[in-house]
């Protein structure tokens, strides 16, 4: 206990006496450790969020083309639509006993850059955006009537635009916002009847309207038969003309059913593409971006090494000027081990302070990244969620800091008392 009090006093005073180098090394350690935690945790959470764990659809059906584009377009509401699918394929899937749920999406319009998706009420009644979680409305709202020009908006849309409950708006043509002055405004007016509770998913960034609304939007043409068809007000649209952009599918019978449809649609068919399993398709993104994550990891490791080296250099450079201090401490009865332990403790303390401050740096990096990810994809990343790197990285930094103190500590250990008790000038 006495030794600890002595060590603590020596370390505190030394840190104070070398305040500038202490501050610099603490900050460099904080940045290093914040970067490591940020890179690892962001990677883990984005992977988890984008690999759709618990998402209430097993597959996405769309026009013939890239599976990844299909998933990004229909699940994350990013990218352009790979094309449309004839209504008959959707209808067949819907009636197939192996399909539990088939939710059609039709896209093509936006409001201030937020995608408008035409769909059916099954999305609200039966679809689970996460395990056991269905879409819910904020107070006062209702889901749209499929026969009316009504809209239900995601929480981010409501937050960032003027589309609150009761708001009336006109859709803009195109799935993304056109440059000012070049946008085509549809004459139809839709009223917001419901605002969704936040889901932390891309659904928060979508304006949902009835499927029929997309079909009947002025200027839209349906090409379900291959020829152009314009719906007429007051008349029903024959099914053969209808088209959907994608269909979210939930199967009965587990992965076996998915593999069956995969073979049937992707290998034997020519009209459509089935993205199944979704996680496997999305894994492609991470495989494509894997090198970037590796580079980031290597960079963050290097920054940690540089931080540890800066602790070593800062301490080592003070060793000559501190020889007399060590000699005095030894003359007062401090053991060699006590003096060298003080140096290791000092380097560990710098690393520990860096690690503590690093949590703040991590929070800043993570929050900034989470803000961008949410703005661009609607996916919510939780800065407060636990990840092993939040414990391992600070602990590793303290260990590295202690290791960085060993060389200066050896120098302190070897300090000769008698020859260093006289002042040097």
């Amino acid at each position: 206990m006495k030794a600890l009090i002595g060590l603590s006093l020596i370390v505190r005073r030394s840190l104070r006496q070398h305040a500038l180098s202490t501050i610099v090394t603490v900050f460099s350690s904080a940045i290093a450790i914040g970067l490591v935690m940020g890179v690892f945790h962001l990677n883990a959470q984005t992977r988890q969020a984008f690999l759709l764990d618990g998402f209430g659809a097993d597959a996405v059906l769309g026009a013939r083309g890239s599976k990844l584009q299909l998933v990004l377009n229909s699940v994350f509401h990013l990218e352009t639509s790979p094309g449309n699918l004839p209504w008959s394929i959707y209808a067949e899937m819907r009636q197939n006993p192996r399909v539990e749920l088939a939710i059609p999406y039709a896209v093509g319009d936006n409001y201030r850059g937020y995608r408008i998706v035409g769909t059916t009420n099954e999305l609200f009644d039966r679809f689970e955006f996460a395990r056991g979680a269905k879409l819910a409305l904020q107070s006062g709202g209702v889901f749209f009537d499929p026969a009316l020009r009504e809209a239900v908006v995601g929480s981010v849309v409501a937050e960032r635009t003027d589309l609150g409950l009761g708001a009336i708006f006109q859709p803009r043509h195109g799935i993304a916002a056109a440059p000012s002055g070049a946008e085509i405004v549809h004459p139809e007016e839709y009223q917001v009847v419901g605002v969704l509770e936040p889901t932390g998913t891309p659904l928060d960034r979508v304006v949902f309207i009835p499927l029929e609304g997309i079909f009947r939007m002025e200027g839209h043409e349906l090409r379900g038969t291959g020829e152009s068809f314009r719906p007429v007000a007051g008349e029903s649209i024959p099914d053969e003309h209808k088209e959907v952009s994608a269909v979210l599918l939930k199967f009965r019978g587990g992965p076996m059913t998915g593999r069956f449809f995969d073979t049937q649609i992707n290998l034997q068919g020519k009209q459509a593409t089935l993205a199944f399993p979704l996680a496997q398709v999305l894994l492609e993104i991470f495989q494509k971006l894997g090198w970037m994550v590796q580079v980031l990891r290597v960079v963050s490791y290097l920054v940690v090494v540089v931080a540890a080296a800066s602790i070593l250099a800062a301490l080592y450079n003070t060793m000559n000027e501190r020889r007399r201090e060590f000699a005095i401490l030894r003359a007062l009865g401090a053991r060699r081990r006590t003096v060298s332990s003080a140096i290791v403790l000092e380097s560990s303390a710098i690393a520990a302070m860096g690690a503590l401050l690093g949590l703040g740096v991590y929070a800043a990096i993570f929050s900034a990244a989470a803000f961008v990810v949410r703005r661009e994809t609607g996916v919510v990343l939780d800065v407060f969620a636990f990840h092993p790197s939040l414990v391992i990285a600070p602990a590793a930094m303290v260990v590295l800091g202690a290791l960085a103190g060993i060389l200066p500590a050896l120098k302190a250990y070897a300090t000769d008392v008698a020859s260093n008790l006289v002042p040097t000038s």
Binding site: M1, R13, E325, A331, L332, V417, P423
Partner: protein
């Protein structure tokens, strides 16, 4: 049994040219408990080396340094460190205060490796030395005389049984030197500590009842330089 007993103490150094030089060769020296002795000698007569050997900072090549019967020369370095921390107070000519520490902390350092920190005692010592309003000052913020008093307080902080003082007044003007000496001897007497003061200043040594001439008892110095005129052979004033 004397508190401190030195017998056939030899310490040599190897010079840069490889030649072995004997700097200390003391046949016998004794110091009783609570006794106060001035050790005088010319520069280079081995005064500081002798103090270092007594303090266990240096290990002699041969001979014995017995403290209360315990031969320090045969102890491990760690036990000699513990001896210094527990039993010894040391006043350096250059004070050797740690610049990053306050006066109070410097005094506390005199305890942490030994009996443990006792803030109340450290404050009391500094207060009695007239530094009650300088507890939180660092050495650079203190006058030379005040620094000397902090050094005295630190040497007495662990309630030592022996205080070694190496030219304790060497950096002070005559008036302050006299004050510091009175404080040192007075506090040692009060605390029941023996005191061994090394000095080359006759004004300091003259205030001690017993003065030992190192030039006389150190055979290495005697063979290297003429014997000093100060003091008497055998180390005892009549």
């Amino acid at each position: 049994m004397p508190l401190l007993e030195i017998q056939d103490l030899v310490k040599t150094y190897r010079a840069p040219d490889g030649e072995v030089q004997t700097v200390l060769d003391v046949a016998r020296f004794e110091l009783e408990a609570v006794e106060q002795v001035a050790l005088v000698g010319q520069s280079g007569s081995g005064k500081t080396t002798l103090l270092h050997a007594i303090a266990g900072i240096l290990r002699p090549d041969s001979g014995a340094v017995r403290f209360d019967g315990l031969n320090l020369a045969q102890l491990s370095e760690a036990r000699r460190d513990a001896f210094r921390a527990q039993q010894l107070g040391y006043v350096f000519q250059t004070f050797n205060l740690l610049q990053g520490y306050t006066a109070l902390e410097n005094v506390l350092l005199g305890m942490v490796f030994g009996p443990g920190p006792d803030r109340a005692w450290a404050r009391e010592l500094l207060t009695r030395l007239g530094l009650a309003d300088r507890l939180d000052h660092r050495p650079a913020q203190l006058s030379v005389g005040q620094q000397q008093r902090v050094a005295l307080a630190r040497a007495l902080a662990n309630r030592p049984r022996l205080v070694l003082a190496d030219e304790p007044t060497g950096n002070l003007d005559p008036e302050r030197a006299q004050q510091a000496l009175e404080l040192l001897t007075g506090l040692c007497r009060e605390q029941g500590a023996a005191l061994l003061v090394v000095t080359h200043d006759a004004r300091v040594s003259d205030t001690f009842e017993r003065v030992v001439d190192l030039g006389t008892i150190n055979r290495a110095a005697r063979s290297a330089t003429p014997a000093p005129v100060v003091g008497l052979a055998g180390g005892q004033r009549p």
